[in-house]
Each structure stands twice: as C-alpha cells, then as structure tokens.
C-alpha cells in the first residue's frame, strides 16, 4: 500500500475521528439481525426464511465492520450471502416447496426443544449478568487499514517462516476438498 496513503488514513483515524453514530448503527444492525433471525425460524416458506437469513448475515457483516474486522465482513458477504445462500435458494427451488409449506411446521417434540432453548437462554443471561464486570468499558481501536495484512501474516506467515495458523489453514483447504467430493458424490445419481 502506498505509504503516504496509509499515513493519511491512520492520521485520519487517530485524529479522534470516531465513527459517527456508533450506538445507533449498532442498535439498528443488532435489531435487524435478531428480528430477521426470528423470521428465519418462524416463516412457513423456506424462501422467505432464506431471505430473512440473508438480512441477518448482512447485518452481522455490518457488526463486523463496527468491530474493525473488515476482512471478516468481506468474507461474510462473499461466502455467506453470495455463495452459501445462493446454494440454499438453489436447493429450495429443487425440492418441493409447495407441499411442505402447507404441512405442519414444527415437530412433535417442539415443547421440549423450546424448553431446552429457554434453559440455554437462562444460562446465557446468568453468565452475562455474572461476568459483566469482566468486560472493559471502552473498546480499543484496532488498526483497520492493516487488518488484511495482519490476518494474512497469521495465516501464511512472514517471509520464510510458517505462520501460526498455516497448518490449520491447509487442513481447512483439505476439509473443503472433502466437502466438494462429498457433495458431488451425494448429489450425483450415477457415478
């Protein structure tokens, strides 16, 4: 990157140029994420659910941006919203949607499931309430402009040196390969 450029950026950020309206942005995005999350699990029609999930994903990507994680946000948009959700919509179109949206939507043990989820919620609430003091009041500012480089350094390492996560990264690529093979084998009628 152009040194003058990044210097300008950093100076702009360090000059106390706090991102504007942060609380508002946060509440809007969080509300959007949770509301469309509710829509995901309650819609009868799977396409509506998928659209709601896309909204959730984009809102979460916005939250990542607010957390100074632009690269993760970009990956979220490309992989999740652009890739995985298209796959979901593709499959929804292939399977018979008309019939299943007229049927019963929840399985018979739904009270049990709901109870378990409520128990989980209670656990979360108590954990958050108890551990509240652990968290600092102010969040620190990460260097946004070098975010990608830092992640790359962790994944691939510096010149001539393996990074902290290089091995895990290779394993992940293997995982993807296996997933590709698995998906092909499972969906093909005759191999």
């Amino acid at each position: 990157m152009n040194p003058g450029m990044s210097a300008g950026l950093n100076s702009a950020i360090n000059a106390g140029m706090a991102p504007v309206g942060t609380p508002w942005f946060f509440y809007v995005l969080a509300g959007l994420a949770v509301a469309s999350g509710v829509a995901v699990i309650t819609r009868r029609n799977a396409v509506h659910s998928a659209l709601a999930l896309i909204v959730t994903l984009l809102a979460v990507a916005g939250l990542y941006l607010m957390l100074y994680a632009p690269f993760v946000a970009g990956v979220q948009i490309i992989v999740y919203a652009g890739g995985i959700m298209v796959l979901f919509l593709f499959v929804i179109m292939l399977v018979n949607i008309d019939r299943s949206s007229k049927e019963r939507q929840f399985n018979r043990i739904w009270p049990v499931g709901l109870a378990a989820a409520c128990a989980l919620l209670a656990l979360f609430v108590s954990a958050i309430a108890k551990g509240k003091a652990l968290f600092p009041d102010r969040m620190i500012t990460l260097p946004e402009s070098s975010n990608t480089q830092q992640i790359a350094t962790m994944l691939y390492g510096e010149a001539g040196k393996m990074g902290q996560y290089t091995f895990a990264f290779e394993i992940a690529s293997l995982l993807l390969l296996v997933a590709i093979l698995g998906a092909v084998i499972m969906t093909k009628k005759k191999i």
Binding site: P23, V34, V91, S100, I151, T187
Partner: protein, 102 residues
C-alpha cells in the same frame, strides 16, 4: 447513549444463538434446520470477532474465517445429503428421516 462494549455484542450473539437452537430443535423442514445452524455459526463468529477486538489481537478473526470455511463445507454436504434424501423419500421433513437405510 452509552458506548457500545463487548457485552452488547455478546448479548446479540447469545440471542442469535438461542434463535438458532430453537430453529434446530423445533422445525421440521430440513432446509430451515440447516439455516438455523448457519444462525448458530454466525452467533459464534460474532462472539469471536467481538473478543478479538476486546483483546486487541486478530486470533478471533482468524477463527471466524475458519468457521466460515467450515460453514461452507457444512452447507454443501448438508444440502447434498438433503437432495439425495429428497430424491429417495420425496420429503424434506426431519421427523420422517427415521430409517438408517433405504
């Protein structure tokens, strides 16, 4: 308005996680169950990234990327299973998947 702290993000993540769990445990439609799993993974990712900012290093973000990779693999395989299942049984309801073979 108060400043947004890590805690705020954790609350959102917890809400998304619980919503995902509810979806997985109660819905019949496999597609929606898979989408609920994506919700859960996103909640986890949000947590990781929030912690990453709290501690001031990027390990959380790297983990979030790994989880995204995992989610892609899971979606591909899950939907592949779904299609081959649908082809054989002509249903996509979880509670009708009750045989180990067909």
């Amino acid at each position: 308005m108060a400043e947004i702290t890590t805690l705020h993000y954790l609350v959102v993540a917890a809400a998304l996680f619980v919503l995902g769990v509810i979806g997985v445990l109660t819905r019949r439609n496999v597609v929606i169950v898979l989408m609920s799993i994506e919700l859960i993974l996103n909640a986890v990712n949000l947590n990781l990234v929030a912690f990453s900012r709290m501690w001031g290093n990027l390990h959380g973000q790297v983990f979030a990327i790994f989880i995204t990779v995992d989610a892609a693999a899971e979606a591909a395989v899950g939907l592949g299973i779904l299609i081959s299942f649908f082809r054989n049984k002509e249903t996509i309801n979880v509670d009708e998947i009750d045989l180990l073979k067909w």
